[in-house]
């Protein structure tokens, strides 16, 4: 019996995890179906665009700038070990566009947007605002989830594109000001080395990460338990799930795009 207990716990945990994955998948498809069927709530969509996109710009910009700068320093220092300092512009560009830009923006969105969506919807649930929506003939999936997920799918790739550019700019500033690169040749090396497929993969990752971040916020908000503790748990769980899923999706998408 004592030996069986850990197995029982493991079994319960696995079953619980599988059930949650199934519920999230059903929720995501439900949200998607509401995106495609009228009515559309344009005001909520525009508010979500502003909240997820415009208001996330400062944190995305600062994160990308400092990461690009640090990346330039690391590559220069590491490259110096085998006389490869000159590859800084190329590696900063490819590192930011293929990997760090989308992942860091995705994680920033998970921290800033997923948490805010989850806390807002969970509070609405706890204070019966979701029930009020239903009694006012408004489907919560259509009014709350669809506009937020659609906005994230559209605006996070744009944020990733901006993050990529700012990150490369951060590397450029460090490269030119601190590491002695020629400005024109730094920019030329960057532009020559990047391919369209790098940029497309970055934007596709952005859309996937945006969709994950908004869906997790909405799902855990809607599933919230009662009271302040319920809101807190929902917020915490949404950010954890979004961050892990973004990193897992990044691995899968990187394998699909670049494994050959």
């Amino acid at each position: 019996m004592i030996l069986l207990s850990p197995l029982q716990h493991l079994g319960r945990a696995v079953l619980g995890l599988l059930a949650t994955i199934g519920q999230v998948a059903i929720f995501a498809f439900d949200g998607l179906s509401h995106m495609l069927r009228p009515p559309f709530y344009w005001r909520e969509f525009l508010a979500a665009l502003l909240q997820i996109g415009w208001l996330s710009l400062p944190v995305v910009g600062l994160t990308a700038f400092f990461t690009g700068g640090a990346l330039a320093l690391q590559i220069y220092a590491g490259g110096a070990r085998f006389s490869a300092e000159a590859v800084v512009p190329q590696i900063v560009a490819i590192g930011m566009v293929r990997e760090l830009g989308p992942v860091l923006v995705g994680l920033m969105i998970a921290a800033r947007v997923t948490s805010s969506i989850a806390a807002e919807i969970a509070t609405m649930k706890v204070t019966e605002q979701i029930d009020a929506l239903v009694t006012l003939s408004t489907h919560p999936m259509k009014y709350l989830t669809a506009p937020r997920v659609l906005a994230a799918l559209i605006v996070v790739p744009i944020l990733v594109g901006i993050g990529d550019i700012i990150g490369i700019f951060g590397g450029y500033v460090v490269g030119v000001q601190q590491l002695g690169f020629n400005s024109a040749s730094y920019l030329k090396n960057t532009a020559d080395f990047l391919e369209l497929s790098d940029i497309l993969s970055s934007l596709i990752k952005g859309a996937a990460f945006g969709g994950i971040a908004a869906t997790m916020g909405c799902y855990f908000g809607m599933q919230s338990g009662r009271g302040a503790q319920g809101v807190g748990q929902a917020t915490k769980a949404s950010v954890q799930a979004a961050a892990v899923l973004i990193l897992a999706a990044n691995f899968i998408l990187t394998s699909v795009f670049f494994s050959s």
């Binding site: 009515p39 009020a132 003939s137």
Partner: protein
């Protein structure tokens, strides 16, 4: 007319409703009383379809609530929630006119605002409240805005969930009078759940007592004090001793 037939609802092992049978005639004000946690809110939410009963039927004017087209069905209802349930992100007038700004009852924005202000006046609030946000209002004002929202689309049926909870006695009296006036004026069917006996006497045409998941007593409000039902007597007189356990 609203009819609940043998409605059961459980949450896990906890049986909340064990066969509720209740009829609310058209145009009457029914108040459901009962202790905390006896399933009053669950019964009300079952009628609205916010909770699906495990067993039994709910009929509204002979139409099965479970099979009705949701939008048309819900358009017949107005609901005042216990805490107001006003949308924080919208101004007061947008809350009141919520149904008039979207969906099948959509009106031009200016007209919706005008109706919202008229409804706010009806519940005793001045037009300058219209552009405030719910967080800027007192509890009593939030209840009134919730009431204005419930009546904005002139529904045939209005539900009131603990309308006076958390209000001082004077504000409770104001809300009770408003509810009574509005229900009479609109000729609406009303279902109120409360454990405030002052509300019961002010609002009700008929009273039903819910205990142990079933309706223990139902009758006109005038017979409340002479029912002879020990559960009802204990409840309306607020006695700790009696058939209803004080600790549940």
């Amino acid at each position: 007319m609203i009819t609940l037939e043998n409605v059961h609802k459980s949450f896990g092992p906890k049986q909340v409703l064990r066969g509720v049978d209740l009829t609310i005639p058209k145009g009457e004000s029914m108040v459901i009383i009962g202790g905390s946690g006896t399933g009053k809110s669950v019964a009300l939410k079952c009628v609205l379809g916010l909770i699906t009963p495990d067993q039994g039927r709910i009929l509204v004017d002979g139409q099965d609530a479970a099979r009705a087209e949701r939008d048309a069905f819900l358009a017949r209802f107005g609901m005042l929630f216990q805490g107001g349930a006003l949308f924080d992100s919208l101004s007061v007038w947008q809350n009141v006119a919520f149904r008039l700004l979207r969906g099948s009852l959509k009106r031009p924005k200016a007209e919706a605002r005008e109706i919202a202000i008229e409804k706010l006046r009806r519940v005793g609030l001045t037009p300058d409240v219209a552009d405030l946000f719910p967080s800027e209002l007192s509890g009593g004002m939030q209840k009134r805005v919730g009431l204005a929202r419930a009546i904005a689309a002139e529904p045939e049926i209005i539900f009131f969930d603990e309308p006076t909870t958390g209000l001082d006695p004077i504000m409770s009296g104001v809300i009770n009078d408003l509810i009574r006036e509005i229900v009479v004026e609109m000729g609406a069917t009303a279902m109120t759940i409360t454990h405030d006996m002052t509300s019961v006497r002010a609002i009700a045409d008929k009273v039903a007592m819910l205990h142990d998941g079933v309706i223990k007593w139902t009758g006109p409000v005038a017979q409340l004090d002479s029912s002879g039902d020990p559960h009802l007597d204990q409840f309306i007189h607020g006695r700790a001793e009696g058939p209803i356990a004080a600790v549940r």
